[in-house]
């Protein structure tokens, strides 16, 4: 028995050392394990894909029950919102035609047409340590690293890792997410910096800021990885704080389907971040 125990102890110690070594190498070069990660993810994708259907159905059922409960108030609120939106639509149509006329006068080159790829969310890391989701589309569907992911209401994040049939979206709220944005009517430049909370921070704001809660935040397209003008969220000022944060448009929604927008831009991500398989 003593021999068995000491053998067991050294196995545990060895495995702890090995894990520490793996972390250390990963810290020195975060891209080393990317292929391994995505191979594991690709293998798990069919299973996660299968089981995410009943999970989504269960979630929808609960959401439906809640809606049913609040149907009366919801209806009234929606009718009011509908009226308001109809007025906005008239305004938007006017602006759109004016915009087209002005563009025509300026001979402005149109933006490159976007290509959309739609995927289903099959995995969610759980949110406590990282903010990322897995989707069931990968290189074989034309997904590339760095492209923007959106849902019906706004920017979700960008593709951080691509496998053959799965890929990982780093959400804007993740600690590692940095996205160049424009804020408000004055179009101040800033960086939307995630910190794992639901509301990312606005970093690198100019000294004299003319930004107020309620201002719209859109992607700026600086750095070239993202198309410009994607809606991101609105500026908020949490109670008890001087700091400005952004409430993303997407976060109140259930995340089931996402669209990846490929504008053919690779920008700053091109050389350093692309693995051999992505090139």
């Amino acid at each position: 028995m003593p021999f068995r125990h000491s053998a067991q102890r050294s196995t545990f110690a060895l495995l702890l050392l090995l894990a520490a070594g793996i972390m250390f190498i990963g810290k020195a070069d975060p891209t080393v394990y990317e292929r391994t990660r995505m191979v594991v993810t690709d293998v798990a994708t069919p299973i996660l894909d299968t089981f995410s259907h009943p999970v989504a159905a269960g979630g929808e059922f609960i959401a439906d029950l809640k809606l049913l409960y609040a149907a009366h108030d919801e209806n009234r609120a929606l009718r009011e919102e509908n009226d308001r939106l109809r007025r906005w639509r008239a305004v938007a149509e006017g602006l759109e035609s004016e915009n087209a006329r002005l563009r025509g006068m300026l001979n402005l080159a149109p933006d490159a047409p976007a290509r959309f790829i739609t995927g289903r969310v099959i995995g969610d890391s759980g949110g406590a340590f990282l903010r990322s989701v897995l989707v069931n589309i990968g290189t074989r569907d034309g997904v590339r690293k760095g492209v923007a992911a959106v849902d019906g209401s706004g920017l979700l994040g960008r593709i951080a890792e691509v496998g053959d049939r799965s890929s990982r979206i780093l959400l804007v709220s993740d600690l590692n997410s940095r996205i160049p944005v424009l804020v408000g009517e004055s179009r101040e430049r800033a960086i939307l910096a995630g910190d794992n909370s639901d509301q990312p921070k606005l970093a690198y704001l100019p000294a004299e800021i003319s930004i107020a809660p309620g201002d719209l935040v859109i992607t700026s397209g600086h750095g070239g990885a993202f198309p410009a003008g994607l809606p991101v969220g609105i500026v908020v000022r949490p109670d008890d704080s001087e700091e400005l944060r952004v409430q993303p448009f997407h976060s109140t929604r259930r995340l089931e389907f996402v669209r990846l927008m490929d504008f053919g831009l690779t920008g700053v991500l091109q050389d350093r971040d692309l693995g051999p398989a992505d090139r």
Partner: protein
């Protein structure tokens, strides 16, 4: 005692049960449970499996398996590679070394033991992820995750115990409740 090959196969299949359960727990932890308006926080399912089998049948769960399962969790979750492998091995070691203190004790004691192990696991995980990413993570979501992990343990224990009953008897020194 001579056993037929069928019996041997059956025993082999049952012997890998804890391993398969751990893999299933990792996958369970990845499914998107998010409900509208709620940030999604998923319990640390795989930790529950490591604790349970470390306590009851460590003979059926080699440390290398726990290590590999930790790496799978890292890969799927997108966490820095090695973090979960480290945390799970540390907890497994702790549980196996404390195993004899839990033999025949009421479930509440075991549950309290799990709460302590999960606390150590989450603090360790928080420190390691923060170190590798180079910035301290906000602790609130992790506290919520910890709370949910502890609350879910009794539910999962029922499932583990059912699987446990089908397993062949262990060597001397293992206790089965």
């Amino acid at each position: 005692m001579k056993r037929s090959s069928w019996q041997g196969l059956d025993t082999a299949a049952r012997t890998v049960t804890p391993t398969l359960l751990l893999v299933a727990l990792v996958l369970m932890g990845q499914l998107p449970y998010s409900l509208s308006g709620h940030a999604s926080v998923t319990p640390y399912f795989v930790l529950m499996g490591v604790f349970y089998w470390g306590l009851h049948r460590p003979d059926l769960l080699p440390a290398v398996v726990v290590f590999l399962v930790g790496l799978i969790q890292d890969a799927l979750e997108g966490e820095p590679f090695g973090v979960n492998a480290f945390v799970l091995i540390a907890v497994y070691w702790l549980v196996v070394s404390q195993q004899r203190h839990f033999g025949g004790r009421p479930f509440l004691v075991v549950w309290a033991g799990f709460a302590a192990a999960a606390l150590i696991a989450d603090i360790l995980r928080w420190i390691l992820v923060s170190l590798v990413l180079g910035a301290p993570l906000a602790p609130w979501a992790i506290m919520l995750e910890y709370f949910m992990t502890v609350m879910f343990y009794p539910v999962l224990t029922v499932a583990f115990a059912l699987a446990h009953k089908t397993l062949p008897r262990g060597e001397s020194g293992e206790f089965v409740d």
